[in-house]
Amino acid sequence: MSEPVLRVSCLEKRYSDVGPAAIADVTFDVFGGELLAVVGRSGGGKTTLLRLLCGLTPPTTGSVHLDGRLVSSPPREAAIVFQDYSRSLFPWLNVGSNVMFPLRREREPHSEKHARVEAVLAEVGLEGVGKKYPWQLSGGMQQRVAIARALVSRPEILLLDEPFASVDALTRAELQDLVLRLHELQEHGVTILHVTHDIDEAVYLADRVLVLSGTPGRIVASVDVGLPRPRKQTETRSSSRFLALRNELHGLIAAPEPVQSTPASR
């Protein structure tokens, strides 16, 4: 296999000297073009892990390398989408300006930037809403705007922090399919690391699922999904392999002993 895009080694984060660390001994690789999911309970260190990966918080020990370079501050090659779209979008800017914001320092003509913004908005299914303000859109559409803003600078890796936890079930399914579509784009399919507490979502989307569990949070299992692509909400979710995988993952999260190999993984 090729060199990993993201290499995480022996990562540990302590917020205080007393008590357990938030996460400990976290080691994994993410390969180019992969869609990797990390599942774990709420409060289990998922957000801590993501903040360490994108350089927003320094680790206590261990390291993160992106494209072979040590991550010590937010790298240009990474973009993140937060759970709370209503807070992460800038409410004083319209949708077009929000999505254009990451391009503000790029030295290309405004018309070209504008075209890039329109293209990425179309990619996430939001043609012609550039002039609207975030609050004029539904929650699902706002999260699409946040995804467009993350993608507009063509990052190598897209980090998603529980991105669909605040939308209704139908919208969630649509957004999941959007993530699948973005990942499978022929020319610039993006590497995605998707953090969620939703086991079904992790199995439905990912090539591989890491289970973050225990106190401090550790990676207790890595499960290859191996479901055929393209995936379909009804077909994929009713396949026997999908059901076996979700049961296995439920078991792993419930009983967090380190498991090396598992029956359902290949």
Binding site: C54, S88, F90, P102
Partner: protein, 258 residues
């Protein structure tokens, strides 16, 4: 339908009723008192009608408004800049807070004699008093607004490599704008207080000076006409500010579903 329409009329009608009642009581009481110290409402109204449009009176108003505007602008510039700094940086906050807290406790009126001593009996000392007094509500509200910016906004700024200066001007300033406008609104009313008080001492013009002169000339109807004018002026400044605020914060009010 009928009841809701009726209800919508009751509020304003009550307001007018109270206004008329108070003016009526004043008129009757002052009439019964029959003292030159308490002019009746009709005397004051008549005097106001005569005095307000005169160029003498309007030039006093102009002098006061000039000082008010200058003091307000200086206070807004310093208050917002320092507020952004104190709100954004823990180090700046720790360093400046003890100093600012002490300074803030000083009533602005108390610095009038010192301001005259240092800056003389001109516009500069009046403007300094106004700027000093207005600076703090703006500063405190700005800093509060910056501290209340959600973590997601800060993290987004970090992920998008927004530098310090750009962060202050393009992220913190708009994000804290609702709070900044609240501070400016306090300053709109407080500024009128300070401009009048600062003109009470050793000034040759302005509305504050006008009031003092009418008092010493025993022209009490003109004194009350001046006070009445200030009430009206304060009300209009407030309405004007609200209009500006509605425009500047349109995105905020609509996002909040108002």
């Amino acid at each position: 339908m009928k009841t809701s329409a009726a209800r919508r009329l009751v509020g304003p009608a009550l307001g007018v009723l109270v206004f008329v009642a108070v003016t009526g009581i004043w008129q009757l009481w002052a009439g019964a008192e029959d003292s030159f110290l308490v002019p009746t409402a009709s005397e004051v109204a008549k005097r106001a009608w005569d005095v307000w449009p005169t160029s003498d009176f309007l030039s006093e108003v102009g002098q006061s408004m000039k000082r008010y505007a200058a003091g307000f602008a200086i206070a807004a510039a310093i208050g917002i800049a320092l507020g952004l700094l104190v709100g954004a940086s823990h180090a700046a906050r720790r360093t400046l807070d003890p100093f600012l807290e002490c300074l803030r406790a000083v009533p602005a009126i108390a610095i009038v004699p010192a301001a005259i001593l240092i800056l003389g009996l001109g516009d500069a000392s009046r403007i300094a008093v106004i700027a000093f007094g207005l600076c703090f509500p703006i500063l405190v509200n700005t800093a509060e607004g910056v501290r209340g910016i959600p973590l997601e906004v800060r993290d987004t700024a970090s992920m998008l490599h927004v530098g310090r200066v750009e962060r202050a001007s393009r992220i913190y300033l708009p994000a804290a704008l609702p709070s900044i406008m609240a501070g400016l609104r306090i300053a709109v009313s407080l500024g009128l207080v300070l401009v009048i008080v600062s003109e009470f001492v050793g000034e040759q013009n302005g509305i504050g000076y006008y009031l003092i002169i009418q008092q010493s000339k025993f022209d009490y109807p003109a004194l009350y006409a001046g006070i009445l004018f200030l009430g009206l002026l304060g009300y209009l400044l407030n309405r004007l500010f609200l209009l500006v605020e509605r425009r500047v914060l349109a995105w905020h009010y609509r996002a909040a579903g108002e």
